[in-house]
Symmetry: C2
Subunit: 195 residues, 2 copies
DNA sequence: GATATATTAGTTAGTGATAACTAACCAATA
DNA sequence: TATTGGTTAGTTATCACTAACTAATATATC
């Protein structure tokens, strides 16, 4: 868990940009090197293998995710407010880093390699736990309806968010994600409130 | 739009199985040929290029989708019933063909090639129209709540279904999709009904 | 403080594996 | 006799990665 060097951070950022822009097959050591402006073997002074670069990409996602989680836990609002903040944080994050949205919500791209798959499933599990707990907390506090399983509510909330982000991504970021996310949240709020 | 020959169908099925099982990078002409038990160049007697094979894979998805759509339109139920049948049909389809679920809900894999991307976006649009119309119909018929935009309802319904199928797929098909899909639908029904 | 040494981050050139695809040929069948 | 669907033996391109070398800088020793 060492801090990456500036050059390593640069390589990771270029990798994310290349994957988002031209797809995983385009991510080659050669293209990364060209983008940075150094030779191909120079990349290997900073990472032992391509696999390690992809692990570092996922490591970056993990870091960002943990930062958001810790922020949420410090603020310590009620269940509903925690979910709202989580959603808005993510819409803001993706708006500022569209490449990140494109790569992070296309998990299949990492699923070929066992180690990468394990790492990304870990990140997903983290998110799930966070939201699941917030939903259950909201149900206990009577801010969220209890006639529907927390599990199903989770599917609504996260599923609709993911679909929105995916549509935004496929559209070439053609609409204002923060605005659409906000109106989607209003609809979510109406539906998950108690009768 | 010619009917594919038996050998072409075989190649398409093998391609889907390989993509689902080992990921897109594993889909090579060599592996397809090995799986079928013929030589590599023999594949080129049936398809001009690898790209054409992938187009045929998407053509297969399109055919399946159109079949479901026509079936739905013939039955001509009310809006809510149409949505319900659509969902159950898809859960049944995926339960019988897990490979199809794995590939069809991983659109990013086709997004590198412009032509493939266009085709898959067309299929997605078709689904969207179908469900969107059913939702609006249900709202007119007062079976579905009108205090929430059809667009947002679409995100709930489809988003939650996609998330469920993806989780099923990532879990290695570890639970009964038809059963979980059915309980998810009950929750959907409660939430989208009018107050 | 000057000098020797080690480390860092780069270079050019090249390796072996594998990808998509082609050429040329052949046996069975329409 | 032409077509269909196979074969073996290649081609060219590109991949991840290595070998060997070098300039510049940091560090240690006298």
């Amino acid at each position: 868990m060492k801090e990456p060097t500036p050059r390593q951070k640069e390589i990771v950022n270029v990798a994310i940009r290349l994957i988002a822009g031209k797809g995983m097959p385009y991510l080659t050591i050669k293209h990364i090197a060209e983008e940075i402006g150094i030779s191909e073997p120079a990349i290997y002074r900073h990472f032992d293998s391509k696999h390690d670069i992809l692990m570092a990409v996922l490591g970056h996602f993990e870091t960002v995710s943990l930062r958001i989680r810790d922020q949420l836990q410090r603020q310590n609002g009620n269940g509903l407010e925690q979910i709202r903040r989580f959603m808005f944080d993510r819409y803001a994050l993706f708006s500022d880093n569209p490449d990140l949205a494109k790569v992070l919500f296309a998990e299949e791209m990492f699923m070929n390699d066992e180690q990468l798959a394990k790492k990304i499933l870990g990140i997903m599990h983290q998110h799930r736990d966070l939201l699941f707990n917030a939903i259950q907390k909201g149900q206990k506090e009577k801010e969220i309806r209890s006639d529907i399983d927390a599990d199903h509510l989770f599917h609504f909330i996260v599923g609709s968010m993911r679909l929105l982000v995916n549509r935004w991504s496929f559209s070439g970021f053609a609409f204002d994600l923060k605005h659409e996310g906000s109106t989607l949240w209003q609809a979510v709020e109406i539906m998950i409130k108690p009768d």
